[in-house]
Structures are given as C-alpha cells and as structure tokens.
Symmetry: none
Subunit: 267 residues, 2 copies
DNA sequence: GCATAATTGTCATGATCCTAACATTGAATG
DNA sequence: CATTCAATGTTAGGATCATGACAATTATGC
C-alpha cells in the first residue's frame, strides 16, 4: 500500500529513478521533446523504465513516442493543452480575423504580443506587401514566413510570460516608425479604469505604437471586458476601434456604445 | 507543368490550404500543440487534410497525433529541414557540440546566425544559467525555451536568407554588451583571404561581437575551408579557435596548423 | 545465507497512429 | 454540358505506441 520512498532524500541523487527524472527534465528543457528510444539509450535503461519514471512524475509525459514537458507554453514546448487556455480560442480568432480584414495592401502595421495576436498575424491578407512591426517571438515566427512582407522585430531582453522582447533601443526604434494601424491586445478593458495588461514592460511599447499610428485598434475576446489588470496603458478614448467577438453580453455592449472607440462585433 | 496559381491573388484568403496553415500556425503559437482531431474539427476538414497540409509546410509537423511547431530540434527526428540544413548535418553538429563543450556556467555568449548555429544552441550545457545574445529568429526560438537563461535578441529588419535581423540600434546595443565568448559561423574560410559570409548585413554584427568578446570561436563544418564568400568580415588571426569536424582533409589541416587560431577537430 | 521487497526487463495484447491507394467532390475550361 | 484536374474524403493495412502481466535481477534486512 505504501509507495516507494522508504529512504531519506539525498541532495544529489546519482542513481535511481529520481536521477533519471532530473536528467530527463534537463534534456527536455535544453532542447525540447525527446524520442523515447533516445531517452532510454541516453540513460542506459529500457523504454519501459522511462515510461514508468515519467508516469510517476509531475510535469513530464510520454506522448506519441516522445517524452515531453507538459504545461503547454506559448512557444510550442509541451503537448498538453489546458482546457482553460483554449476556451476562448474561437473568440480570439473571430475578433482577430475581423480586425485583420480592415488592412489594406502596402500598409505598415504594428502587432502586439499576447495569445490573441497570433490569430491576427495568421489572418493578414496575402499578397498585400505589408510592413509588419512586432516585438514578440511567436508573432515574428508567423509573419516571417510570409512572402512579400517586410518584418521589423523590436529586440531586447526576452520575457517568457508573453514571449516578447524589450529594450530602450526598441522604444527609440519604434518611435521613428510611422504606422498606418496599431493592433493592440489587452487583458482588461474597463469603461472607467481604461485598458490594462499584466506585464509592465509592454506599456511603453504599446503607448509609442498608439502615438505613432493613424488608427489604433484594440483586439480582444469578450471575456476581457469589465476586467482590470495591473498595468494600465491607455484610456478607452485613445482607441479608434475595439474589435471583439459575438459572445459579448448585451449589457456590456450598451455600456460601450460610444462614437469613439467604435465597438465592432465579429460575426 | 504549370503549378496551381492560375488565379490572381485575392487580398484575403478565407479558404484553401494556405489559409488553414496560417490558422494552424496561429493556434499553435497561441496555445501550443494541438491534437490532430481538434485541428481537423476546428478547421472543418478531415485529419487527412491536416496531415497533407502540414506535410507540405515548413515549421510544422504531425507527431504522435499532435500537430506541433518544429524548428528547434536539429536532430532530424520527424522534423522538416530545409535542403541547406540537411547538407553536412553530421559535420555541423559535431563541430557545434564540440564548441559548446567549452562554455562555463554563468557566461555571456554571442551566437551567430546560419545553419550550423542551431546545433550549438541546442547543445548548450543544461542548467548553466547563461546569458545568450543572438540576432537570428531560429536561434532565439531554441534558446528562449531554455529555463534559467537570459536571452537578448538584437532586432531590426528581417532578412529571410539567414533568418536574421539587422538595425543600427542593434549594433549600438551589441556594442554595449560584454561577451565571454562569441561563436561565429562562416561560409568561407581561407588561409590568405580570411573569413567570409554571403550576407553583408551580418558583417558589422559579427565584427562588433568579436571585438567585444574575450574569446572568438569560429564554428564550421569541414566543407567551408578553402572557400571564399562575397562578404569578408575577419582575418583568420582574429579568432582564438576554429572548431570543425573530422572530415577535414589532412592537407588542409597542415595548412591551418598555427598557434592562433587553434584548430580543433571534433571527434 | 536466506527471505523479502523493490526495481527493471521482456513479452503480449489492444489501441492508436501513419501511409498509401482509391473514391468523391467541386471548380475551371472549352 | 462534358471534361479535366486539383483538392478533399474514405478506407484499409502495416507500423508504432501504450498498458498490463509476469519473469529476472538487484538491493535490503534479519
């Protein structure tokens, strides 16, 4: 009935299941998912033992012959998706695609970071010869695949929480770029308390982009309304448009009915 | 003989394989790998169509029933590699891994762009708490997954040929970063005509990195020796080490036998 | 030294995935 | 309207993966 741990924990285990697990975790953190047979060969045990080790561990899983980290980070590490994270996927996509529909060929646009913006990046009109300015790794990864598109990535120190970069030089660079449209995301949209996000380093970049853009467009699924996040970065009136999805409650729509920003509901 | 494109490009592709691929990439960027059946359901097509789409795309792959982002694991297992990257893969990996072995915990290192450097990025010692400076998208994609690693990406305008960025601001930023080691790649290594690459925009960044580093290490497979590319960026004597693979011809080894740079052959 | 228990390896079975081949749909063309 | 071709769906098979049972090995305690 009682499980295995009948020995005291050592501080540095060099043999046994615990040692294998830590080595596995290190290998995966270093270079991504690992083939099960490679893991078995590297640790000089059978695949079955790897499976058993992983089965009794948090944060690791065997899927499709690979041993991989669970927890699904935005860069594609790990296989397991949290239901929570995907719950509003349809809303994000609808809002992002509606927002992207307004883009005209030849424009220079700014794309924010966050989990909504990848959908916008993917929905950019093809063959439109755009110039895209961004500061997130996952956005760049999508946009850089497009033909006929100039991509400017604002670099700097990487922040894992939003897969984005920041530096003083990036602020200066962005300040010199004239934008046709800026597409911003937000974690909170509140009638009185304005628009906010969770990461403070994003604030200056968002603000500079809005200041330099002829049109500022806020893109967010309906769950972001009436919420407030720690980092305030703009008042509602600073936006020309808010694009969201159709699940926005009627009462909220009423409260946000104003000439500016114009509230657009994606079909 | 003529391929598919017999219609003029529309401004917004709402159907077709290209549109599905973009959406898939967005979903994966937003919330990690997807179950194949979920992807099929979300895009209202069969799993077979998802497989076919993904098979004809770079950067995505189907693994174990999931569709996931590739790029980051240069070991070839189930991953799509560009033709260029396939060539001399064993040599590139051997040289890169030998070069990475010299890295000590806590160091600040510069990693160049090119097809050899992803192997080095993947071979960085685990748990070493490094600071990594880079200017290529694919390098950043690998390094940003590592835990306990600070990543600084030098941004700017994207150049597709080497998946790298360049800007004046990046040069300034790099100029202010003190480096323990700079790992450089090259397309040509010639005894008299020095070290060269194909893209001119890489030249200043390489030179600044070398100037700021305590040790400059050239990493290249054996096929790069005795060749000259258009953009000269350094003399041989500017390097402390050259790390290459064991297929280097004996005659060439003799010619490059010098106290500096020290020629190291990976086993 | 022996008995016991934990650990690991091997095998077998069912489930799932991957690929190829063929059928079907739909759009463009004459 | 018929034809043609590309794109997609369906089916089936072999390959691979996942899981449980059991055997072999190693470690531990008396």
């Amino acid at each position: 009935m009682m499980p295995a741990q009948h020995r005291l924990d050592r501080s540095a285990p060099t043999t046994g299941a615990a040692a294998r697990l830590s080595r596995l975790a290190a290998m995966i953190a270093a270079s991504g998912p690992l083939r099960l047979r490679d893991a078995a060969a590297a640790l000089a045990v059978s695949e079955m033992t790897i499976r058993r080790d992983v089965a009794g561990a948090d944060g690791l899983a065997c899927l499709g012959g690979y041993v991989t980290a669970t927890g699904g980070r935005p860069d594609g590490t790990g296989y397991v998706l949290h239901q929570e994270e995907r719950a509003h996927m349809a809303g994000k996509r609808a809002a992002a695609e509606a927002a992207a529909a307004s883009i005209r060929p030849g424009e220079t646009i700014f794309i924010d970071c966050g989990t909504t913006m990848p959908f916008l990046a993917a929905a950019l009109p093809v063959g439109a010869k755009l110039t895209v300015v961004c500061y997130a790794l996952n956005i760049a990864a999508i946009v850089c695949r497009r033909a006929e598109t100039r991509v400017i990535l604002l670099g700097g120190l990487y922040h894992d929480s939003s897969a984005s970069f920041w530096s003083r030089e990036s602020e200066a660079m962005l300040g010199r770029i004239g934008l046709d449209r800026a597409f911003l995301s937000a974690g909170g949209i509140h009638r009185e308390r304005g628009v906010s996000c969770s990461n403070f380093h994003e604030v200056p970049l968002k603000q500079i982009a809005m200041a330099n853009a002829q049109e500022s467009c806020l893109v967010a699924d309906a769950t972001k309304f009436e919420r407030v996040m720690p980092a305030h970065f703009a008042d509602l009136s600073a936006f020309h448009r808010i694009v969201t999805d159709a699940t926005l409650a009627a009462s909220v729509r009423q409260r946000f009915a104003a000439p500016r920003p114009r509230l657009e509901i994606a079909a």
